[in-house]
């Protein structure tokens, strides 16, 4: 009941937020540039060609009408046609979605599975060597440019040592498309050679992508655990002689995770942002690389489609986070 109300509330906010997002990008792109059409048409286009294109794109009409048109288009599930691939943007995004999701989820798992225990350890051993070491690592994780880290790792592990493949998702033919996630598909197919190949290809991009998120998880978990350790219920359980390992890893951790979980939305933002550049570096055929291509080609519809799509994904992730939060914290939002 409470969770249902929460979902409805979030969805009710998601729609106007997305509409606002579209409007923002729309106006910035149509109002600020001197003449988007001549840019689109290219430098060699004649005046008549430009006018023709303008009419064809409907750009000669009032801005609000254009915006309303765009909304109508979006509502019917049409993100426009990519100028570059000449296919509907939606189809392009849909085809590339599994690659990005696979990469992002693996990165997220790495960040959470390694980050949370490290954060707890860092808090428990506050101001010791371990804590200082982890602090250096997390500060570095948040300071390093992910595309540069990607290049350095490629240079060392792929080019120099030759341990891992340089780029792409797989060598040779992809597995039969069942879910679109290669890890799952190769396992379902039972082809372990191909599975190992897929995992090897995933390793570098996933770790690169996970690194800043990992740093964030460690920091939030550390802060959360430190705060929870001060709480009276910890004093109480200690006073009642409950084993301290249990107090920390069962009771304290759950309380600190509540604040960490609310940050997972933020993490996802970090990952999605990272995906744009990291997919480019690793030639990963996901939507991040697609967005980059679109930028290079001045593919307006594709960039716009990617933005709307990113907003929607981000909104859904935050919805999932809220539900997770509601499950972890049974008291409800008001308490």
């Amino acid at each position: 009941m409470r969770i249902l109300a929460l979902i409805l509330q979030r969805i009710a906010w998601l729609v106007p937020t997305l509409a606002g997002l579209v409007a923002v990008v729309f106006f910035i792109s149509r109002v600020i540039p001197a003449d988007p059409v001549s840019k689109l048409a290219g430098e060699t286009a004649s005046r008549a060609q430009i006018e023709l294109l303008r009419q064809k794109l409907g750009l000669d009409r009032p801005l609000l009408v254009q915006l309303a048109d765009y909304y109508r288009q979006l509502l019917s599930g049409d993100l426009g046609t990519s100028l570059f691939t000449t296919r509907p943007v939606w189809d392009d995004l849909y085809a590339r979605l599994p690659a990005t999701i696979e990469l992002t989820i693996v990165a997220m798992i790495i960040a959470v599975v390694i980050g949370i225990p490290l954060g707890v350890v860092s808090a428990l051993y506050r101001n010791t060597i371990i804590d200082h070491l982890l602090r250096i690592i997390t500060v570095a994780g948040l300071a390093v440019a992910s595309f540069w880290l990607a290049l350095v790792l490629q240079l060392y592990f792929a080019m120099d040592l030759g341990w891992l493949p340089l780029q792409a998702r797989i060598t040779g033919f992809p597995p039969p498309s069942i879910t679109g996630f290669y890890i799952v598909d190769t396992l379902m197919e039972g082809n372990f050679t191909r599975f190992r190949n897929v995992v090897a290809h995933l390793t570098l991009p996933a770790f690169t992508l996970a690194f800043p998120a990992l740093a964030t998880v460690v920091r939030f978990t550390r802060a959360g655990v430190l705060e929870t350790l001060q709480k009276n219920f910890v004093v109480y359980q200690r006073a009642m002689g409950i084993p301290s390992g249990l107090i920390v890893w069962k009771y304290v951790l759950r309380n600190s995770l509540i604040s960490t979980v609310t940050q997972i939305g933020l993490l996802f933002g970090i990952l999605l942002a990272g995906a744009v550049v990291i997919e480019t570096v690793f030639q990963w055929p996901g939507i991040g690389a697609y967005a980059f291509e679109a930028i290079l080609q001045s593919d307006y519809a594709a960039v716009m489609g990617f933005t709307v799509y990113a907003g929607a994904v981000f909104g859904i992730v935050n919805l999932v986070v809220d539900i997770g939060h509601a499950i972890l914290d049974p008291r409800g939002a008001g308490a």
Binding site: W13, P16, T17, L18, G20, L21, V24, V25, I28, S29, I32, P33, P36, K39, R135, V139, A140, L142, A143, V144, A145, S146, F147, W148, L149, L151, V152, Q154, L155, M159, D160, G269, I270, L272, A273, V276, V277, T280, V281, A291, F292, A294, I295, L296, S298, Y300, V303, M304, F306, T307, A310, G311, F314, G315
Partner: protein, 286 residues
Amino acid sequence: MSTAIDVLRKLLRDPAAAVGLLIILLLVLIAIFAPLLATHPEAIWDMNPRQRLLPPSDMYVFGTDRMGADIYSRILFGARITMVIASVAVGAALLIGVPIGLISGWTQNWLGEVLMRVSDIFLAVPQIVLAIAISQTLGPSIENVILALSVTYWPWFTRLVHAEVRSLKNETFIEAAIALGVPTWRIILLHVLPNVASPIIVRTSIGMGFTILTASALGFLGLGAPPPAPEWGRMIAESREFLPQAWWYALAPGLAIFLVVMGFNLLGDGLRDVLDPRIRRAGARR
């Protein structure tokens, strides 16, 4: 009350924060005196095909790039671009974000609600996605990068200030000022603003680092300053086709970004420890 000197003294006691401060000071000095410090100041714009892709040497400390320019000198000049982009973008974000946050945090009516919803729209996608969309439609230039970054960063300040003001409003001393009949503008400007200054300062420092990272990513994607400009992100992008042979090409700009961002993050962390009002207020009560 901690004066600026007091804060500085406490910062220097924390080795990590001191390192951060030192890095930032160096960066500022480098940005100002780039022409004097560069070994080949003239060579950053010109093409010298004969000196293309030379490894580091006494002459070219960090090697040369595909145009034959001295990477070391380009890094120094790149510091200028980085500093200008980050400080103007964050400064503009401050000017937009803080007043909106103050108003929306204080007034709990429809105006505050609308302002928060607008800032939510900007937070609905990761900053870089929106910045990509904006700078792509505007075309690559330093001005457009600054515009894209400030337009996408101000909501972070708004959200921070909004939350701080909301909690400050429940503080006894603010309630007391209301009960005392102090005019609202006086309360906001003289009581609220100084008391939210600390988190704003911390956020500014961390925001500088974050903005530099985003700006360099835009540069890497080809959306930053146009080609001859020695923008660090773009330098890394250029290096890709010459890897692994010209390994030095990407090394220096990457390290430069890393050091500068780390400087701001360390300083921000240190400032948080020194300025955090919660710690201070708890201390004041004893």
